[in-house]
């Protein structure tokens, strides 16, 4: 945790070690990455920027409206516009743009990119050729599957794939922005405004807190194991060890829930959840909410072809 560098933000820099990492090293790295990330996230929510100054409820509803609206848009130009809009908001909220873009695009190529990649080739979907890759000649086939005469990247495919990726990126940007600019406990409390019962708001914020307790438990187990490992044992033995540790964590967390419950009871908790209401809507919150909601409406109207651009 000591090497946290807020300036650059989290990155998987630990890849400098050459060669394959054991599952132990990978777990420890993953946990350090997770902790750093949470730490950096906290630091953003304390800056004095545009989004940080808004009421969490107004922010939550605005962002949700924009996400729902964005997910209906199928026009690339509008999506790029929406994405740039979120970049601008990120900038005004004093979030480093480089960090923000990296954070959003870190996972997208892995999941969505993998999903849409086959779409661009005419093997799966016919379309007008854009770039020809291989000329196979007539009658080519892969095993029992007949292949077209030549394989090329189609215009329609690239277009559809780009729209798909942009839409994912825009929605992820919005939610990352919400999480980065709101202190977690506030964010959970603000969920009351979209109708989540008090009980689950409390559960959510407690779960968030105990994730870190349990994560530390896990990291201690792996560090302890690493410290005692001279030579790796057989794979099944190692897997058995992991299974045991997960089971142990389960026992510990149930046990801890018992203790937490007693601690809560002794402080006067009787099963009824009370949450201090400390939010206050100001004019700027109403303005921001109105802007976001009207923008969402416009996006939906455009996507339904009611407004033409």
């Amino acid at each position: 945790m000591k090497e946290v560098d807020i300036g650059i933000g989290p990155c998987k820099c630990s890849a400098v070690h050459r060669g394959k990492k054991s599952f132990i090293g990978k777990t420890i790295d993953g946990i350090i990455f997770f902790m750093q990330d949470a730490f950096v996230t906290e630091s953003f929510s304390r800056r004095r920027g545009l989004l940080q100054s808004l009421d969490p409820r107004a922010k939550l509803i605005s962002i949700l409206a924009l996400i729902v609206a964005t997910s209906t848009v199928g026009n690339l130009r509008i999506l790029v516009f929406a994405y740039l809009f979120f970049l601008l908001v990120a900038f005004l909220s004093k979030i480093e743009i480089g960090f923000f873009i990296k954070r959003v695009w870190l996972f997208i190529p892995i999941f969505s990119g993998f999903l849409v990649l086959p779409l661009v080739f005419n093997v799966f979907f016919p379309g007008d050729p854009l770039i020809q890759l291989i000329h196979l000649g007539p009658g080519a086939h892969l095993g029992p599957i007949p292949l077209p005469e030549s394989i090329y990247i189609t215009k329609q495919g690239v277009n559809a794939a780009t729209i798909f990726m942009m839409r994912v990126a825009t929605c992820v940007s919005a939610i990352v922005l919400l999480f980065l600019t709101t202190p977690q406990q506030m964010l959970f409390k603000s969920l009351r405004s979209v109708g989540i019962p008090k009980l689950y708001v409390l559960t959510l914020s407690m779960a968030y807190r105990y994730i870190f307790v349990l994560t530390e438990l896990v990291s201690e187990m792996y560090v302890a194991k690493k410290a005692r490992t001279i030579k790796a044992r057989g794979m099944f033995d190692e897997q058995k060890w992991v299974g045991g540790r997960i089971g142990y964590t389960l026992i510990r967390s149930l046990d801890m829930s018992e203790k937490v419950h007693m601690a809560m009871m002794s402080r006067g908790y009787n099963g009824e959840v009370r949450i201090i209401q400390e939010f206050k809507m100001r004019n700027r919150d109403y303005v921001a909410g109105a802007i976001a909601i009207s923008m969402s409406v416009v996006l939906v109207l455009i996507s339904q072809n009611i407004i033409r651009v």
Partner: protein, 219 residues
């Protein structure tokens, strides 16, 4: 999905004031379970989903809330799992996996002793069946999107592949790869719990009277 959550909440009201800490810690566990890397053949590593074991140990209704909370945290923290798809996701991972896992486990283990090795196998099979079924269902939903949402030119708006691609793709890769890992991990966790604290499983039906003895093993 909302009626399921409300019903699950009602089901758990027997927990009384214990409800919040119990669900919170269990959700934290459901979140943390994916941090455990374990070695798999080929020098790579993988991690488990853990829905089945949570369903077996906590009961399926508690698992519904627990996993939903963990998924909500994931969606908020990483933008991962999505907001607009949250309900579908929850149905898949917080309802299908624990319920199928729970019933598969109960069906196979029957009336055997808590400590019998048949239960370990039952847990492993429950892990395999539940993940495979949920993955196939996810494939079905994705394929359905392809049919429902298309633009004017017939190009898909959201999901680029039809049912005939998504269902086999999700089924095959899970049935022959990921689900085996899930089965292995579920079985191993179960075997450990059985050895260490079998009292966990006696109160399967009523989570409320969890007066279990503390027999936690040393780290």
């Amino acid at each position: 999905m909302i009626p399921i959550w409300i019903y699950a909440g009602k089901k758990l009201s027997t927990l009384g004031s214990r409800k919040v800490p119990f669900l919170a810690l269990a959700a934290a566990f459901a979140f943390v379970i994916m941090m455990f890397n374990l070695p798999v053949p080929g020098g790579s590593t993988g991690h488990a989903v853990g829905g089945a074991i949570i369903g077996i140990v906590l009961g399926p209704w508690a698992a519904v809330i627990t996993i939903s909370v963990a998924l909500a945290l994931q969606a908020l923290m990483f933008g991962d799992g999505g907001i607009t798809t949250y309900a579908t996701n929850c149905f898949n991972m917080a309802v299908l996996i624990p319920f199928i896992g729970y019933y598969a486990y109960n069906f196979i283990s029957g009336k055997t002793e808590i400590t019998s090795s048949r239960r370990v196998i039952a847990a492993a099979i429950a892990g395999w069946v539940s993940l495979t079924a949920a993955a196939t269902w996810a494939g079905f939903i994705l394929g359905l999107q392809f049919i429902l949402y298309k633009d004017a030119n017939g190009l898909p708006l959201y999901m680029p592949y039809p049912l005939s691609v998504t269902v086999p793709a999700m089924f095959l890769e899970h049935a022959f790869a990921f689900s085996f890992l899930e089965a292995l991990v579920t079985g191993l966790i179960f075997a450990y719990l059985q050895r260490t604290d079998p009292s966990l499983f006696y109160g399967e039906k009523s989570e409320s009277k969890k007066s279990k003895t503390k027999k936690a093993a040393p780290v």
